[in-house]
């Protein structure tokens, strides 16, 4: 494993070079956040400020979420004339983020030629909530990483606590099958060995032989905490629709409040719109302020997508989006026959 600080140094050099040589007008990376176990997205436009960039096990955000809005098509003819052409954008990508970018390129939301992709072979990122929970009663004042990739935190009473890496890695990282970006212009870090994750992926989506009523009750229980803040949707790089069905009022598909029926509608609709598109970055679950496993439904859908159609969203740039295509012999065992 290459130490984070070495990657950080090279990342800063790369960003500085790209900005200085005007290869990009904007560089998206991470900077230090005010709270431990976190980083904040950084919109960098000046080469001199490249030192603000950080690389650590806390670079969780999927920066691909910002790309569609940076390359948003002009709203009307007037805007088309007055809007300056978007600059080329450099962006730091982990394996999952790269899958998102691939999907965005496939869906023609971002132009590949305007992107400089700085991939980092990702060793897995820390789930801030897991880390906080692991500290129990104590609050961390600062956090870093040791040579083995374990997390070290300084807590309130001044003591230093080491949290074992496996203990605090995000679930989504434990399930990740392509931690090294499959698409990149620059690659930092040594490609990590892909984990054997299929069992982990299936286990998390398996409800065994539970009855429909039990499954429904479990879903309702999980969603009952939802406050409809839209964080899961807004954090998702695939949720770029200009007019989201969930916001439409003419007709209004989903009521505005937290009636459990509307909450369930919200999550079913959102999940289904991810079918064949979710790149399993975990942004939705991370964003949820209520700690809901927002991947609950999508995780299962992704397994189906792969089992039924052999499709892995974001795996390859030349793939056709699953639901934009069809085959005469697609499975249809689910159909009702007289």
């Amino acid at each position: 494993m290459i130490a984070s600080h070495q990657i950080e140094t090279r990342l800063r050099e790369a960003a500085e070079g790209l900005l200085r040589d005007k290869k990009v007008g904007l560089f998206l990376g991470y900077e230090k956040a005010s709270l431990p176990f976190r980083t904040a997205p950084l919109f960098l436009t000046e080469a001199e400020k490249a030192k603000r960039l950080v690389w650590s096990p806390f670079c969780t955000a999927n920066l691909a979420v910002y790309l569609p809005r940076l390359f948003k098509a002009p709203a009307d003819a007037r805007e088309a004339k007055t809007m300056p052409p978007p600059p080329a954008v450099g962006v730091v990508l982990k394996g999952c983020d790269a899958r998102s970018v691939i999907t965005l390129i496939q869906e023609r939301q971002v132009p590949r030629e305007k992107l400089v992709l700085v991939g980092v072979a990702c060793p897995g990122m820390v789930d801030a909530r897991k880390a906080e929970r692991a500290l129990g009663d104590q609050e961390a004042l600062g956090a870093g990483e040791d040579a083995q990739g374990n997390v070290r935190a300084v807590v309130e009473d001044g003591t230093e606590v080491t949290l074992r890496r496996e203990q605090v890695l995000a679930d989504v990282c434990l399930e990740c099958r392509s931690p090294t970006p499959s698409i990149h212009d620059i690659l930092l870090g040594a490609p990590a060995e892909a984990r054997e994750t299929d069992a982990a992926r299936r286990r998390t989506a398996d409800l065994g032989s539970e009855t429909a009523d039990r499954r429904w009750a479990r879903l309702q229980q999980a969603l009952s905490k939802c406050i409809r803040c839209n964080a899961c949707r807004q954090a998702c790089p695939m949720c770029y629709c200009k007019d989201c069905l969930l916001d439409q009022t003419r007709p209004r598909w989903v009521g505005a409040g937290t009636d459990i029926s509307d909450v369930t509608m919200y999550h079913l609709v959102r999940a289904f719109h991810m079918a064949g598109r979710c790149t399993e970055c975990g942004a939705c679950a991370r964003a949820c302020p209520m700690g809901i496993d927002a991947r609950l439904l999508v995780r299962k859908l992704n397994l189906e997508v792969e089992d039924l159609f052999g499709y892995r969203p974001g795996a390859a740039l030349d793939g056709v989006p699953l639901l934009s295509a069809f085959a005469m012999d697609d499975p249809q065992e689910f159909l009702t026959e007289p």
Partner: protein, 336 residues
């Protein structure tokens, strides 16, 4: 003023007494082991070790879904509301203060809001002073603090052996008098200890310079700061929905058959639809204007209109922002 004491062993009796009069909300552990403010049940012990609740208690006075009226067969029905009292035990001082801020908006103004007012009138707050603030707390900078009694009817401080209590309003006095038999006068040493504890908590909180913040924000309305600070905003409602003072709402109609329910739901200024006109025009078209509105509303417009900030420094927005936005950064930079 803190002058009474009750041993922890009698706390349940005190809450039982309150439960006879109305609903008691108290800190208990939920199924995930997180301490939440929830309706107290007998099988769940009260917990006193917690920083603050993930959700502020604002939903108890400003429910996320509030039925305003129902239309049925051409008639309009207003929802019946129970008149039972609601006791909030263990609310942190910041959240208690937030209720005062909401009062400014919904009650004190030229138009009082009957739905809020009815719920609010029933609520009595027994606040629990903070002993262990978090690194995202900045209550001391918005005129509050770990021992702030504003908004509390009774302020409590948890010491090792006892809970100290003091009435802060006539309502609080009435409450304590109805449980007077469970209370004894707090010895001076205990009161001193409580004060020391609060001061120690205060010292842990990093201040944010909010001197003349309304004026600084007025002068900084056109600052490039808003654009840079809002770039990473995802436009979700986490900050607003968790905020104890954010109160903006939407009114929509739910239809089912011949019945229509007009319902008020929380809304958020970070959403593009919040201000979108039917014509397509949007006075706050980008995250820049919307993020500026959020800060201006809390620290400038509210100061101008109510002489009261719409922020209590609880830090929920900081802790929960998916992209780690920290409004303290903007507040520090603005006009600095």
């Amino acid at each position: 003023m803190i002058d009474k004491r009750i041993p922890y062993t009698d706390l349940d009796r005190l809450l039982d007494r309150l439960a006879k009069r109305g609903a008691v909300y108290a800190p208990i552990k939920d199924e995930a082991g997180e301490v939440v403010l929830a309706a107290r049940t007998h099988d769940q012990p009260i917990v006193l070790e917690y920083r603050n609740f993930r959700l502020s208690p604002k939903a108890l006075v400003l429910p996320q879904n509030q039925t305003l009226m129902c239309f049925k067969n051409g008639d309009v029905e207003e929802p019946a509301l129970s008149d039972r009292e609601t006791f909030l035990f263990g609310v942190r001082p910041c959240d208690a203060r937030a209720m005062l801020a909401l009062d400014k908006v919904f009650i004190d103004g030229d138009q009082h809001d009957p739905y809020y007012a009815r719920l609010r009138a029933k609520v009595a707050v027994i606040a629990l002073a903070c002993t262990r603030p978090t690194s995202s707390c900045f209550c001391t900078s918005v005129g509050s603090g770990p021992g702030d009694a504003a908004g509390a009817d009774v302020l409590a401080v948890a010491l090792d052996a006892d809970l100290l209590l003091g009435a802060e309003t006539p309502r609080g006095q009435e409450l304590l008098s109805c449980v007077a038999d469970l209370l004894t006068d707090a010895p001076g040493a205990a009161v001193k200890e409580a004060e020391g504890q609060i001061r120690a908590a205060e010292d842990q909180i990093a201040p944010v310079n909010l001197q003349n913040i309304a004026r600084r924000l007025r002068d900084a309305y056109d600052s490039p700061l808003w654009e840079t600070a809002s770039l990473k905003c995802l436009g979700c409602g986490t900050c607003s929905y968790l905020c104890p003072t954010c109160h903006c709402f939407d009114i929509t109609d739910d239809v089912r058959g011949g019945t229509v329910r007009r319902v008020r739901t929380w809304d958020c200024c970070a959403y593009p639809l919040f201000t979108l006109h039917a014509s397509g025009h949007n006075p706050r078209p980008t995250a820049k204007e919307r993020w500026r509105q959020r800060i201006m509303h809390k620290f400038r417009y509210a100061a101008e209109n109510y002489n009261h900030l719409l922020c209590v420094g609880c830090g929920r927005c900081i802790r929960n922002c998916p992209v780690s936005m920290d409004l303290r950064t903007v507040l520090k930079e603005v006009g600095a």
